[in-house]
């Protein structure tokens, strides 16, 4: 048996170490190990509740706006905020732009280069894949680098800067003028050019007419530009590269719902799916620590009662990532989960045909990106600069608040307890905590671990299959707040 140490895993956002055991060309065991602990929850204790608005986005510079949104929503809830329609729109636009940017970056900068891996050298599509997706030099890679910058410009028009704007309870602090909106729309058209000419080979509207695999087949045959677009290429060659056989996760999906609207609904709904659709009940969320270097309780614990007490011992514990479970089950979060819970017909069809694999996950992300692009344009047009963007909030001294939202890579929750006007407890469960979680109290592996176990490894020096699986989840370890990794040879006690 060979234990392969893949550390450090690159082209993910942040620090992730990963260990797999390979027997007879197959992964038999997997350990996902985060490599960074910064202790945000400890730092927030005793601070003014509004300080969380500035501190928590610094958990992750890749998806800071989801933390902006979660912290603002937690305080909306705790501080009894009222939010005007423009306030909702502004938050949705900022979060939507960031999520679109994340999807672009993931597709082209983080995941795409693997399609130009030497494993596929002999495949007929290789020269074309390499020409487009090779890191830095790939033509599509390069296009995406500049499209990202444009999206950041739109973000800055309303948020001041990216990364790291600040959201506030009660709506949005900005007061854009009509000319800001028209400018944003104009920059957006440049991004749309890239999306339509390079990624899709057709208009956004045309792609969104595809509601089943049969439609997609027709779309491919309809026009050469469709078949030869980046998406067309991926749809055609993905299964040939074996991406439909890799990375089968647990098949449970969770979404907190996102892009809150003035009518009290989310554009993309919340829910849990385990073969059946369930409405989300956040009281069913618990964090386990049996295999994580924490102490203070057994079994699972709801985040509002969460304890973050680091404790290292040599033994069965193997990571400092806590282990979130929904109704006791591991759950995949991210674009595939959101699309399934939204009952998106195309993604449901894909999932039925191919299962929750690398191929489906990547396509679900791209499909969501296209839907989101169309929606951002709508939101921009809906803003009414003559109406208010900010409503109000109060300052009660003893309250609790919950802020649930979605980052590009999945469900993000903030739970805050305020006592005597100060933060008494602040707990964050990041999307990556869900996907990268270790085994729980019942010894059930987390989603990525499950997806990696069983993966065939052709060449132990180039375990690209495993990397496809890990990257398909778009893990963001900068996100995993509770992570630290002392190595076996070190005796550590974290107090």
């Amino acid at each position: 048996m060979a234990e392969i140490d893949l550390s450090p895993i690159t082209r993910i956002e942040g620090h992730l170490d990963f260990k797999i055991n390979v027997e007879e060309g197959k992964v038999t065991d997997a350990k996902a190990i985060g490599a960074l602990f910064r202790g945000f929850e400890i730092i927030l204790k005793g601070r003014d509740p509004l300080d969380a608005l500035v501190i928590t986005p610094r958990i992750c510079g890749v998806c800071p706006t989801s933390h902006n949104d979660a912290s603002a929503r937690a305080l909306d809830d705790a501080l009894n905020a009222s939010i005007p329609e423009n306030g909702y729109l502004m938050r949705s636009i900022l979060l939507g732009v960031e999520n679109l940017m994340s999807h672009a970056a993931h597709t082209y900068v983080l995941f795409g280069p693997d399609l130009a891996n030497k494993k596929y050298e002999k495949h007929e599509a290789y020269p074309e894949l390499a020409r487009r997706f090779a890191p830095i030099t790939g033509t599509s890679y390069k296009g995406a680098v500049f499209a990202r910058i444009k999206l950041d410009e739109i973000f800055a028009i309303f948020g001041g800067k990216h990364p790291h704007t600040t959201f506030v309870p009660g709506g949005a602090p900005v007061r854009p003028q009509l000319s800001d909106i028209t400018k944003a729309l104009s920059i957006f058209m440049q991004v749309q050019d890239f999306l339509e000419n390079v990624t899709l080979g057709c208009s956004i509207e045309r792609w969104l007419e595809n509601r089943s695999l049969k439609d997609v087949q027709k779309w491919l045959e309809e026009d050469e530009r469709h078949a030869n677009s980046d998406l067309g290429l991926f749809i055609r060659y993905g299964p040939e590269l074996g991406l439909d056989k890799l990375g089968r996760g647990p098949g449970n999906f969770l979404s907190y719902g996102v892009y809150a609207q003035a009518d009290g609904k989310n554009w993309l709904p919340a829910g849990f799916y385990d073969g059946k659709h369930h409405t989300l009940d956040q009281s069913k969320i618990e964090e386990h620590i049996k295999y994580s270097w924490y102490t203070g309780y057994e079994g699972g614990r709801h985040p509002m009662e969460g304890i973050t007490e680091p404790y290292y011992e040599e033994g069965e514990k193997y990571t400092w990532a806590k282990c979130p479970r929904y109704d006791g089950k591991p759950a995949e979060v991210g674009p595939l989960a959101r699309m399934i819970i939204d009952k998106d017909p195309l993604v449901l069809d894909l999932a039925k045909e191919y299962g929750p694999c690398v191929y489906t996950r990547v396509l679900a992300r791209l499909h969501e990106a296209v839907r989101l692009a169309a929606k951002i344009k709508e939101w921009l047009l809906e803003i009414d600069p003559a109406k208010p963007f900010f409503g109000s909030y109060e300052r009660p001294s003893n309250v609790e608040g919950i802020g649930l939202t979605e980052a590009a890579r999945g469900a993000l929750g903030h739970w805050v307890r305020i006592r005597d006007g100060k933060i008494d407890n602040y707990q964050v469960i990041t999307p990556t905590a869900w996907n990268v979680s270790p085994k729980d109290s019942n010894d059930v592996h987390g989603p990525i671990e499950q997806a990696v176990i069983g993966t065939p490894v052709e060449d132990e020096d180039n375990p690209i299959e495993v990397q496809h699986v890990i990257r398909s989840y778009d893990p963001c370890i900068a996100c995993t707040v509770h992570v630290i990794t002392p190595r076996k040879s070190y005796k550590l006690k974290v107090v």
Binding site: I9, L492, V494
Partner: protein
């Protein structure tokens, strides 16, 4: 060719994300025209695992010249002095930095985390984190006061949460052209962080500030200093002159400056939404207060919060 290694420690990746917005030069011009070769940067690296370790070891052994070492993120020395709160492959981040720094011709600490410690080093500093050559307002940090890179310079600090891509890019270009980059008292390039520059400078709310029209709540038009805790006048950086993403700035969008380039960020700025003191350091209190009274009287009608 200019060999650049970009190491990430206790960071949120924000400074890298910000750097990718670089426009003059853009990433491609930097590579093609300035000959910059990024030998390792985890988020964009083509290879993983062993290859990464081998590249870094080559620089440590001095087999290849390390022209610029960019460090993003604070350096955790904990737990218990092991540095293992953050590691890359077989070594702690701290260990890598202590081995790479002596080989580097220039060291840039990018972002407030690397420059001064930032949030990871905020009390109670759970991982005993510190900046590369500074700990908050004190020189020393991880490498110590005496450290000089091979070019004879201390670590060049480019603070900011995140650092502005232009601050990094222009410093890099200047260094590559062999120019002497003048530094301020925190070893930051004076061009961006000098004594005479503040965030207040260039803020479109200046007129409101001058006539003492204070925003009462978020979304008001007035100045964010009195009631919403703007740190602009206390913060030496050119955000409102240079603008972010070539478009805007926090104060332009109604968000008070949080003072994120300051060495004492975040503690020195908390509570973020409350005024630090009435009068900015260096201002003459009595004339200022008397003057304010007159300015209120002088206020033109058109300056209103709503």
């Amino acid at each position: 060719m200019v060999n650049v290694v970009w190491m990430q420690g206790a960071t949120d990746n924000g400074c890298l994300v910000s750097f990718l917005n670089m426009q003059q030069p853009d990433v491609y011009q930097a590579i093609e025209k300035l000959g910059v070769s990024i030998s390792y940067q985890n988020t964009i690296n083509p290879t993983s695992g062993k290859d990464v370790i081998a590249t870094l070891e080559k620089y440590i052994a001095g087999e290849e010249q390390l022209d610029v070492l960019i460090i993003e993120g604070a350096i955790p020395r904990g737990p218990n002095g092991t540095g293992m709160a953050c590691f890359i492959g077989p070594k702690s981040f701290a260990q890598w930095i202590s081995e790479l720094a002596p080989q580097a011709h220039y060291v840039l600490a990018v972002g407030t985390c690397a420059a001064f410690g930032n949030i990871p080093a905020a009390e109670p500093n759970p991982t005993d984190a510190t900046g590369v050559q500074w700990h908050k307002t004190e020189m020393g940090g991880f490498l110590g006061k005496e450290y000089r890179s091979k070019a004879g310079l201390p670590v060049i600090n480019i603070s900011g949460c995140p650092a502005h891509p232009d601050w990094v890019a222009q410093t890099l270009v200047a260094v590559l052209l062999g120019k002497n980059v003048e530094l301020d008292k925190y070893n930051r390039p004076k061009d961006f962080f000098g004594e005479e520059i503040t965030v207040h400078d260039g803020c479109p709310r200046n007129e409101y500030y001058a006539f003492k029209v204070a925003a009462e709540k978020f979304g008001d038009k007035g100045c964010l200093y009195m009631n919403l805790g703007c740190k602009g006048p206390h913060t030496h950086s050119d955000c409102n002159r240079r603008l972010w993403n070539r478009q805007s700035s926090l104060t332009r969008c109604g968000i008070p400056c949080h003072g994120c380039t300051n060495p004492d960020f975040p503690e020195g700025s908390m509570p973020f939404f409350q005024r630090r003191r009435l009068v900015v350091e260096g201002w003459k209190v009595v004339p200022y207060i008397i003057g304010s009274g007159f300015m209120k009287l002088a206020k033109p009608e058109r300056l209103k919060n709503e």
